[in-house]
Amino acid sequence: MTSLPSPVIGAPGRPSWKSEAVGVALAFLLMALLPLVFGDTYTRHILIMVFIYAIVASNWDLSLGYGGVFNFGHLALFSIGVYAYGLLTKAAGVDPWVSLVASGVIATVAAVLVTIPILRLKGIYIILVTFGFAQLVMQVILSQSDVTGGTQGMVRIPGLYLFDHNMIRDGKIGYFYIALALLFLSTVFLRVIVRSRTGASIVALRDNEEYAISRGISLARQRIITLAASAFFTGIAGAFYAAYQRNASIDVFGMSLATIILSMVLLGGTSTIYGAIVASFVLTIFSEAMADFGPWRPIITAVLIIVVMLAYPSGLSGMIRSIWNALAGRLKRPDAALAGKTEERTAA
């Protein structure tokens, strides 16, 4: 399998548990204060969407970046979350919060199911099968139009509730903090996994499959764990999306959404988790800033993605790292910049 750049577990320079926890806590505290600055519901809506994208993208980074599994059915897991929530709350009348968690579980089960046919496959074939899986799920949802609404989608899906708090006329503050809390839980979950021994074995399988297997790592088990772990919060994000939008449409299977999320993963830099989250912010805000450009917006975004990927194949995190190295080199001693350059080359 391909060797993607990643911080080596246990390598010198890897931040300690403590400093990482402090950094994450500070970042989320900062994000929690954002509604104080942005009072209008439109900006809050954009931020909620950023949080949803960030959850989906960072979970994709677990399977795609750390696992090296080209899972192109990731958005299908998100869509399964959307429809599972819609069906559970609307057709079965289950409590919204129970449905939210259940959607995550259903997405996880679906991920395990799709992992079975790809256990023996490599590289490009995984792309094809997972792509096929996504289409299969879409066709099933389309064909069961009695319950799913087919191409019409589902409307008036029950939203979430918080005690007696009015979720509709609160300037989106309720959904903002639920989304932020979900992103926080998902991020902690992902970072704990990738820093654990399981995470190390997943990376080992990606970097040198034969050697990892010879050292007693089970490819099948680790691959199922990787896909299942990446699915849980993706499904929950889908359920939250359905609860927030109050509707479910077949558009979530479209290539445009998959392309946006995939660009977030790759633009942020794979095997970082944080990169995908930062890229969700950058891409969404960039896209909003260009709202006046109309039809030119997707064109400019596409050019931007190509330029960044060509110049910095390890994404924004590689870009930041090389800029940091250059700055640090200028400030400290001249040969540090050189060291930073060689590090960048080995990382790429």
Binding site: F70, L121, Y125, G132, S143, S263, A302, V303
Partner: protein, 291 residues
């Protein structure tokens, strides 16, 4: 008799279009080792370029070859801009997926801006209809059924009996060795993309002759081409061709007996089952090479 003729005809017609698309995908994969997600957009662009020439007053017989040549150029440019700079990088497969997706989105939105969202249609290759075995068919579709195998045979002859074609196959088999014996690997990469793009463009022109063109018309054929290469095995040219016709017949039979609604779901179920049993494709051996 009617059912048989309908399935035969539908299978041959759909199979022809799928084969033309899938061969291009397989060609790029075998020579460069990347997957071109802009392939569906090539198809769409070919149809629009041909439409532009037709609306300038050229007859379709002239517009078609001109558009195919233009598409070859587009393929070459795309390869040179978003694929070639990445060659040699360890994560090339993944990065090319995103760069070709982005390039596809760029072209798609460019077409939308340039030609507008209104549906367009190309003139047919041949006007008129006929009845074969109790089934009414248009001469345009008959022409496609006859022309496609000829083009694919020409491609096969090119790959097996010309120096350039053999060089392409050599690069597909062993890149380092090809470079050692003095083949211009970069140019051959460009050639593979150019051939793939012109085949896709041709398929688009064929399709534009009987169905309305939209900027997103290529996404569904790309999906079908993906299934075809999974079935046929991506590491050869003949495998996807056989698989394309097989899937064409399968689809025609399914939609005849089970209805159009269930056909895609059945197709994907068969696909996933087959991948569990024979991941490398029905007709493929595991080695990489064009044959």
């Amino acid at each position: 008799m009617g059912a048989f003729a309908e399935i035969m005809f539908g299978g041959l017609f759909q199979g022809s279009l799928y084969a033309m698309m899938a061969v291009g995908l397989a060609l790029v994969w075998t020579t460069i080792g990347v997957f071109n997600f802009a392939h569906g957009v090539f198809m769409m662009l070919g149809a629009y370029v041909a439409w532009q020439f037709v609306s300038l007053g050229l007859p379709i017989a002239v517009a078609l070859p001109v558009a195919v040549v233009v598409m070859a150029g587009v393929g070459w440019i795309l390869q040179a801009s978003v694929v070639r700079p990445l060659i040699g990088r360890p994560n090339i497969v993944l990065v090319v997926v995103i760069t070709t997706l982005a390039a596809g989105s760029l072209i798609e939105n460019g077409v939308l801006t340039l030609w507008g969202p209104r549906s367009k249609q190309l003139p047919s290759l041949l006007e008129g209809n006929t009845v074969i075995g109790g089934v009414g068919v248009s001469l345009h579709q008959i022409a496609i059924i006859i022309i496609t195998p000829l083009i694919l045979a020409a491609l096969w002859a090119f790959l097996n009996h010309t120096r350039l074609g053999l060089a392409l196959r050599a690069v597909a088999q062993n890149e380092d060795a090809s470079q050692l014996v003095g083949l211009n690997v970069t140019a051959l990469y460009g050639l593979a993309f150019a051939i793939a793009a012109s085949l896709a463009g041709l398929a688009g022109i064929f399709m534009g002759g009987y169905r309305f063109m939209t900027p997103v018309m290529g996404s569904d054929p790309l999906l079908k081409a993906l299934i075809v290469v999974v079935f046929g095995g991506i590491s050869s040219i003949s495998g996807p061709i056989f698989a394309a016709y097989l899937i064409g017949f399968f689809e025609a039979a399914c939609s005849y007996y089970f209805g159009l609604y269930w056909t895609p779901a059945l197709l994907f179920a068969v696909l996933i089952l087959m991948l569990m049993v024979r991941p490398e494709g029905i007709f493929a051996n595991q080695s990489r090479g064009l044959a």
